[in-house]
């Protein structure tokens, strides 16, 4: 089922009951820009340094909401989707970031996925911030990956009727190698198709006066630039039991990773992407770069892995940058998703008596779309800093996680996974983090 919210301020998801938090915030936050102007260095008594929370508490009320412009081609403010194969489920959401809401511009991120015969194909893309129609490129790129992969997977099934079994066989064997190559080639082909699709999308709008008006010149391919993360997810039976074969390709920033909640913290996170980046923040590579016309150029970027996992994650830099360095901070992302009831938390951590550990409660910020609505979210970062525990401690102590989670604080809701993910992406606050956020999550049953 799919949820498309196009500036539906009236059809908002109701807030969690949090009157106490609302009362506190009403006192603390500046009401207007003038209040902030009045603040000079001398008004910060005894504080040489401000904490990030001080700053974000201050800016919370200042982020404005401007709807997406009417033309040309507006995109929904957020999209989300959930689907299940029985053995695993895919939950994905993409939301417009605070900066775009403030400026009144479109969401530039996109995702697409399909479950095919007990396997999944997924794509995530981030349209370049400086490019006017990058959202169109991002959507076209993601859809092209899925479309091509579907066709190629059918062909692989025909040519290799036992391919699922072979993928579960001896990794050193020729059969495994053969099928793996097919899968990797398919993925590379889908990226080249994505490039072609972005080109076609640009071509289609060439000479369109509405588009030319936006950039004040003729449109070009560059205006549709975007990153691309593409992956295939295949459950297989091996002599070690159920494992998952994943093949992934990354062009640009963002990240792809696998998480095994049953593993020790040292081996629980497997980084499967490789972000392109320059020396400064924001500098990256795009799928529309000439070199990527040729699928061969993607060979060094293709990563294949078979092993245990309980979650597979793909995300744009709007999320990845908030968990840096990704190794090991993406484990903190998994913890945030568990604490907020978005990722299942059934792993075999050890239960302990945590009566003496005081955990901080969830934090509420006003929703940018409607300042009267507050969403209470839990932050692993806060749990760790307030308790003095380490990432490893929280990873092992499942009972403490339960205690610190939203449900542990009596915040229960009727929302489905896709809605919760949307709310979380739309509302978690991190200083300097206001980009579009997209996260695609595959969770297995074990």
């Amino acid at each position: 089922m799919e949820n498309n919210n196009i500036n539906n301020a009236s059809e908002t998801v109701p807030a969690f009951p949090d009157q106490a938090a609302k009362d506190v915030l009403q006192e603390e936050l500046p009401k207007t820009a003038e209040d902030t102007n009045a603040l000079t260095a001398t008004d910060v008594p005894g504080k040489k340094k401000l904490s990030d929370r001080d700053v974000t508490a201050h800016t919370a009320a200042m982020w404005k909401y401007n709807p997406v412009p009417e033309s040309p081609e507006p995109y929904p403010e957020s999209i989300s989707r959930f689907a299940s194969s029985g053995e695993f489920s895919v939950t994905a959401a993409s939301v417009r970031g605070k900066k775009h809401k403030h400026d009144g511009s479109n969401r530039d991120d996109s995702f697409a996925f399909e479950i095919i015969d007990g396997m999944a194909v997924a794509a995530v893309s981030d349209g370049a911030g400086s490019k006017a129609f990058s959202r169109i490129g991002a959507k076209a790129a993601c859809e092209a990956v899925i479309k091509y992969s579907k066709i190629r997977l059918e062909a692989i099934k025909r040519d290799f009727p036992n391919f699922r079994k072979e993928l579960g066989g001896d990794i050193g064997g020729a059969n495994f190698g053969n099928v793996c190559s097919q899968i990797a080639e398919m993925l590379r082909g889908s990226c080249a198709e994505a490039f072609a699709a972005v080109e076609a999308a640009a071509e289609k709008r060439l000479g369109n006066p509405e588009f030319e008006a936006v950039v004040d010149r003729k449109t070009e391919l560059k205006d549709f630039s975007c990153t691309l993360l593409a992956a295939v997810f295949i459950p297989v039976e091996t002599q070690n039991g159920r494992e998952y074969l994943t093949a992934s390709i990354q062009v640009g920033d963002g990240m792809i990773a696998a998480v095994d909640e049953n593993a020790e913290v040292k081996s629980a996170l497997i980084i499967l992407g490789d972000a392109d980046s320059g020396s400064f923040a924001g500098e990256t590579e795009f799928i529309t770069s000439e070199q990527f016309r040729n699928p061969e150029s993607l060979m060094s970027r293709t990563k294949v892995r078979r092993g245990k996992l309980t979650s597979f994650l793909m995300m744009t830099d709007g999320v990845a940058d908030d968990y840096y360095p990704n190794n090991p901070q993406l484990l903190r992302l998994a913890l945030d998703l568990k604490l907020n009831g978005i990722m299942p938390d059934a792993g075999a951590g050890d239960s302990r008596d945590n009566a003496d550990i005081a955990v901080p409660g969830p934090v509420s910020y006003p929703w940018v779309n409607d300042g009267d609505v507050l969403y209470a979210l839990q932050y692993a970062k806060n749990v760790l800093s307030e308790t003095g525990l380490t990432l490893e401690d929280l990873w092992k102590n499942k009972a403490l996680r339960k205690k610190a989670s939203l449900s542990g604080f009596g915040i229960v809701h009727e929302k489905d996974c896709a809605e919760m993910l949307t709310i979380w992406l739309d509302n978690y606050v991190e200083r300097g983090s206001f980009d579009d956020r997209t996260l695609l999550m595959i969770n297995t049953e074990n």
Partner: protein, 213 residues
């Protein structure tokens, strides 16, 4: 927890030579105040912008080290002396080297810094080498503004491609300059994913300001 990274460093290089005495330096003081006030009304600037002021006359001084917007204190500015632009450029390069954080494996770096240079006269010291280094290494997006009849835009063109000329040092012109700096800082995030070396998008310059081709 670790210090906030992903900051947008902004450096103001302000000419405080003798010719700036009187009304011009007063207008600059006013302009800096207005810039800070404007930026403090913007949530994105509040979360990410860190400002530093470097002044230059017979020598160059970093009067305010890179400081976050909410804690930024207006610097004391007084005019008099020569125009050591070279010293200012060398100091700028040093400050960027020591204050700006590049991306590493363990830390997301700052956004590429923005530098605004305001000068009303020709340099009186050795500046060519420092300018050439900045132009080739591009450690920042540099925007240079030549104010008044005695400013030398050819010098500024040796530092950066982006040079503006404003005809006078009037209070009005200087106010417009600082308002434009503010808009540029607010707008810069749009083009922050531009490839290194590519031009960043800037708002149109104020009335009466000329872009030097």
């Amino acid at each position: 927890m670790s210090e906030f990274s992903r900051r947008l460093p902004v450096y103001l290089l302000l000419d405080v030579s003798g010719s700036m005495q009187g009304d011009p330096i007063e207008a600059v003081r006013h302009g800096v105040r207005a810039l800070i006030s404007e930026l403090r009304g913007d949530p994105q600037a509040l979360e990410t912008a860190y400002l530093s002021v470097i002044t230059f006359n017979s020598s160059a001084r970093q009067v305010t080290p890179l400081t976050e917007l909410m804690l930024f204190k207006e610097p004391q500015l007084s005019a008099g002396g020569a125009t050591a632009l070279g010293a200012a450029l060398r100091l700028l390069a040093d400050c960027i080297k020591s204050e700006v954080r590049k991306s590493t494996e363990t830390q997301k770096g700052d956004w590429r810094p923005l530098v605004f240079i305001l000068t009303d006269g020709a340099p009186t010291d050795d500046w060519r080498e420092a300018a050439a280094v900045l132009k080739t290494t591009k450690p920042a997006n540099i925007i240079a503004c030549a104010a008044g009849a005695y400013a030398d835009t050819t010098v500024l063109k040796e530092i950066t491609e982006c040079v503006l000329m404003m005809n006078t040092l009037s209070a009005g012109d200087l106010a417009q300059f600082f308002a434009w700096v503010s808009s540029s800082v607010k707008m810069s995030s749009k083009s922050l994913d531009a490839k290194p070396g590519a031009n960043i998008e800037l708002p149109p310059p104020p009335q009466g300001f000329v872009i030097v081709p």
